[in-house]
Amino acid sequence: MDNYLLIPFLPLAAFFVNILFGKTLIRDKSHWVSLFAVVCSWVIAVMTLFEVIGGRTVNRDLYTWIVSGDFRVSVGFLIDQLTAVMLIVVTTVSSLVHIYSIGYMHGDKGYYRFFAYLSLFTFSMLMLVMANNFLQLYFGWEAVGLCSYFLIGFWYEKKSASDAGKKAFIVNRFGDFGFGLGVIMIFLTFGTLHYAPVFGSVNGIVGKTVDFLGLQVDLPTLIALLLFCGAVGKSAQLPLHVWLPDAMEGPTPVSALIHAATMVTAGVFLVARCNPIFVLSPPAMNVVALVGAVTALFAGTIALVQNDIKRIVAYSTVSQLGYMFLACGVGAFSAGIFHLYTHAFFKALLFLGAGSVMHAMAGELDIQKMGGLKKHMPLTYWTFLLASLSISGVPGFAGFFSKDEILWRAYASGPLGHLLYAIGALTALLTAFYSFRIIFVAFHGKFRGTHEQEHHLHESPKIMTVPLLILAAGALAAGWVGIPPLLGGGEHFAEFLAPVVGHAKGEGTHAEEWATMITAVILGLGGIAAAAFVYLRKSTLADTVAGRFSFIYRLLWNKYYVDELYDTIIVRPTFWVAKNVIVGVTDGKIIEGIVNGVPRFIGTLSSWLRNIQTGMVHQYAAVMALGAFVVIAIVLFW
């Protein structure tokens, strides 16, 4: 337990080694450095998990980082049940992605850079989850954002990649601005940024109000919503979801690690971590739940019609993240974290599988140009199928248990919960449909790509398929730690997290629980069946439907025009203001007026003054002597 410090700092060391010596010395051996570090971290994380299971937690300040008046921040580490789970998720997925990347990134000219960034990201993410205060959390939060930026724009020669990186960064700023305000509010309210004292005295702020933008706002609601702003940005929830699909411009292992399994779930982690604040404010909880539910449905509908394999999976990620927020919003934080945990496995698997397909298709992303890949790459197919079954909530798979938990908790939470349940169940149908759409379109049927592509088709090398197999095992079995009592399980996962996030409230009968579960399963299986019907039997049906409901189809195809909306209401006005007001008036008239006026004035003055400067040394010396004379005289006779 005492070597927990190694968990984040080994990857940091690997980052420094790679960034300093990678280009010249290590070159194509870079992966050994990073892999060694992250695997060691994983081993220690597993040991740490067992110690936490054994009942030991750590909350220790390492050293004082900032002291400024009352403002004291330490670098410190908190390892409790929640952190332990996150450590496992982060280090496991990170290790597997490292291994996968050895094959996937082979021969890239930024090879060492890629592994350096992966290490830096792993360090940042671990710092985020291990922080024991809000500022360190914020540090990790921004650092993972930075790494995400680096890695989305990893192929920076590609304009779309660097644009996507910038977009991710800027969109996240909106959320992080709120998050920053939230941290400031916490400091103003509690006088400290450490979790323990903040959460310890959190009940003292119930009912207090604060003047915010001229409105009297309930203090817990304000803080919770500000913090949630950050979560919305980072976890790509409505309305800040636009960056995540574009982030698919990065290398696929990055999508798996950062934009599916770990970084984007930081928002869920944040909400779970701050659950003592959130539970104080029912309105904030409702906001969280509704945002999550709407996002889940919204992203799920978009995913139905997209053709880009990575984008479908990305919208699926947004949708699943919505589920997690939904769970948090109804007070079932452990269910949210549980889904986060299972989702990490099957979503990383989906991405890596997609990467494997891309590898075989020489970078082709359009599923309409694939087909029949099953016989060419059986391992990829079977693992991909496993992940899809898991995400669709087929009983027995990991996704089933976590999704069922969420839906049941939503239903049980009350009248609003029924609505949330309905949305969630509908989303489950959509999820199953679009997941199997990929399977049926890309892996079944006849190959529709070019001849060269068909010739090129091959199963990926072992270094890439082994991580797929490991993740497939996780996608199958990871959920077995949280089998609900209804099915004879012990809900171990929720019990384990209970010391941190408490138990979910709400009640319902066994009959209701059975009903919700069976409904969801039927919807999920129905989605699969529908997909099979549409894409295996009646392949023209999809086009017919799209033609019949062309308005809806176009709406979905264009992702509800959110990007265009932002372009109209934010980007263009900003450019207009920049061009006409800032450049035209402020810069052109005022600043240039000052900038040009000052030298003009100086020029006039100096053309007069320079008559003094004759270039004659004697005159200068005489003036000096005169000056000495005057100074001494003044001192003497004044």
Partner: protein, 170 residues
């Protein structure tokens, strides 16, 4: 009496020599006058128990700085200098300014208040020898300025080379 006598001789010689230095038309003669002047100043230092500085005065000022001057003078065109005007046009003004300065400085001497006495009395210095005492102070209290001075000298060496070097072709 003896000490006063020596001082008066040295002072008179120093003043006269310095006037000669600035009035000779031939710079080489000025140099030689200056050389003699430096010796008198060194002697004055000896009467003030500063033997080390007296030696340094001769070694550095007479032996190095003045030789440099001499070199430069010899490199320049002296023929023209001998026949050219010695002083600037309005030289009486310069003299007047200098005299005015002399007056105020001398007047200011009246209000001179000596500071507190230190520990290095003549006896202490004589027992330890001037050089050792100076070295002890220089390498403890004034070590940092000492290092700075060495840097200044290094910079001066480089600067002098850069400035005086002939422009290289192309």
């Amino acid at each position: 009496m003896m000490a006063e006598g020596i001082f008066i001789y040295l002072a008179a010689a120093i003043v006269i020599l310095s006037v000669l230095v600035i009035t000779r038309s031939n710079p080489v003669h000025s140099m030689i006058t200056m050389l003699v002047l430096f010796f008198h100043i060194a002697a004055l230092y000896v009467t003030l128990n500063a033997e080390f500085l007296a030696a340094i005065q001769v070694i550095v000022y007479a032996g190095a700085i003045l030789v440099l001057f001499l070199f430069v003078v010899l490199l320049l065109n002296l023929k023209e200098e001998m026949v050219a005007r010695r002083y600037i046009g309005p030289w009486p003004l310069g003299v007047l300014a200098a005299l005015g300065l002399l007056v105020v400085i001398v007047l200011s001497l009246k209000s001179f208040i000596p500071g507190p006495s230190g520990v290095f009395t003549t006896e202490v210095v004589r027992a330890e020898t001037n050089t050792k005492v100076l070295g002890q102070i220089l390498f403890t209290e004034y070590l940092y300025p000492f290092e700075v001075v060495s840097m200044i000298l290094l910079v001066a060496i480089i600067g002098a080379i850069v400035l005086a070097k002939k422009r290289l072709r192309n």
